[in-house]
Structure formats: structure tokens, C-alpha cells
Symmetry: C2
Subunit: 163 residues, 2 copies
């Protein structure tokens, strides 16, 4: 499988899982949390499939397409472990959906980042909220694995319910 | 259509068209020319579907994944309009397939780049060679449009035969 094949599969898994997560929270109140803005591709998708929801975005800096830059008052800019405590104070328990896309390219570092962020992500979410993550969050009792959408291979992306 | 949807469609169109181009040159001698290495995703795909062919790569600098860096003696590094004449001297008429992925994000600039490169790309290719391009090369008598693979929408990518 080439890197082109693998990128297509990754993006398709991401889209299918975000769509499934959006479906799960239909009719349930709560804000959306996007960890890792990057070029704004999935932010753009989230605001399309979750139109009308407030989407709060976390990243070190804004490097997105100009038409995918969130409003200033929904941006948590800077080191995640400095912004997360502030976000918990502002929004704790109000999250319906969180998308963690904080992989750095270095597998061990990405896993460590997600593991360290997970307890605060749990605090942000309401019970019954869902998490789509590019890294596994197994081992946290706050997160129960949910089945992935059809066609998405296990391990390519992860879906959890906040319990 | 979100930017995530649009990226998936663009990559799928790229893969389907590269695969169709590789199929067209099966059994025909000639080297492969990749214009724009980027992160090496399509280079990796080309070396998978055209295994055994020499692939020559053009870019300003190498910014690819370490496992997608071409051998030094197949790299034309620097400004395209300085390296193209050298490549024509080295490889003129020996190209079986060229992939132009030189879009800069600025539409007008990308079209201008492709139009300026097209005559030299034509010199690099053997008659019957094929070109996959992210920009249209209409108006060049050296290039006759070929039908796109099924499922690929016109205008998303372009396929030509060197005539």
C-alpha cells in the first residue's frame, strides 16, 4: 500500500467516523471540541455536519486556509497543557463531541500527548459525549470504546463514549 | 462539500488517473517524470505501480518523508526552468509518463507554471507517452486529451497523450 493509498484510507476513516459521531449526538445539546486545527480540513467538515453548534478549536498557532479560521472567541491558542485547564474552567462538562487529531508524526510522542490530554478531555465532555481520536485512549475508565462505522478498519481511528 | 470531502475526491482522482496512465504505458519502454515531490506521496505510489522504471523527480527542495526520497542521481533540484533544459538534454524523448503536480495554491500562478513548462515536458516525452496533470494543458498541439477513468469528474485532473 503506497502512501497515497494510505492517506486516502486515513481520510476516509476520519470522515466516516466523524459522520458517525455527529449522528450519535444528534438531538443532544453540547459544544464541539477540535484538537488540532492544522489546515482546517476537519474543522470545515465538522462545521458542515454539525451546523449550528459552537466549535472550540485548540492548536499551537493558526495555519489554516483563510476560510477555515475559527472566530477568535472559539480559539484556544498555545500549548495544549496550558489551554486545556482554561477550557475546563470555561466549558467543563459541556462537550458533546471531541475530535483529537494531535498526532505529530512521531508515534510515541503522539500517544504520550493523547494520554496526557485524555483526563482533561474527559472533564470537558458531558456523560454520553463522544470522542473521535487518531490515537487510542484505552485504559481510561472515562472512555468506553464504541464500534467503528462499517468499512473502517480497527486501529485506523478510535471512537469512544464518555461514560 | 467540505475541504475534507474535497481532499478525498482530489486524492482519489489522482490515484485513479495515475493508475490508468500506468496501465496505458504497460509494455512500452521509457522513464517516469514526477514534477513536484512534496511529501513524496505520489512518488511512492508511482514507484509501487511502475516498479522497475526509473523515476526522475523535479522539485525546489526535498521535503519528503525520509522513505520517499529519490536517489540523488534521479533528482533535479532547484528552479524548474533551470532544471528542465538540463533534463531535456539528459532524457529528451525518453519519457513514458509525466506527472505534473506543481499547483502552488494560487490558481493563476499554477496555470502559468504549467503552461510555461508544457513545451519542455513535451520534449521530454516519447510519442505515445502520457501526462497526468493537476492543471489543464489544452492548447498545446503536442498533447491530445485522453478520457479520464470512470468516476473521475472532468476538471478535477487532466490526462493527455503526447502526439
Amino acid at each position: 500500500m503506497s502512501r497515497l493509498d494510505s492517506m486516502i484510507r486515513r481520510l476516509e476513516a476520519q470522515r466516516a467516523t466523524l459522520n458517525a459521531a455527529a449522528e450519535r449526538i444528534r438531538g443532544r445539546a453540547g459544544v464541539v471540541l477540535e484538537f488540532g486545527l492544522g489546515n482546517g480540513r476537519t474543522y470545515d467538515h465538522l462545521r458542515e455536519i454539525l451546523s449550528g453548534r459552537d466549535i472550540y478549536v485548540f492548536d499551537r498557532q493558526v495555519a489554516a486556509h483563510p476560510d477555515c479560521v475559527p472566530p477568535d472567541d472559539r480559539l484556544y491558542l498555545g500549548d495544549l497543557f496550558e489551554t486545556l485547564p482554561q477550557a475546563v474552567a470555561d466549558l467543563g462538562g459541556r462537550g458533546a463531541l471531541a475530535h483529537l487529531d494531535i498526532g505529530t508524526g512521531d508515534k510515541l510522542e503522539s500517544v504520550a500527548l493523547s494520554q496526557r490530554a485524555a483526563p482533561m478531555v474527559a472533564e470537558l465532555l458531558a456523560i454520553g459525549g463522544v470522542v473521535v481520536s487518531d490515537q487510542p485512549l484505552d485504559g481510561f475508565t472515562a472512555f468506553a470504546p464504541l464500534p467503528l462505522p462499517e468499512g473502517v478498519k480497527a486501529g485506523r481511528i478510535f471512537l469512544y463514549e464518555r461514560v
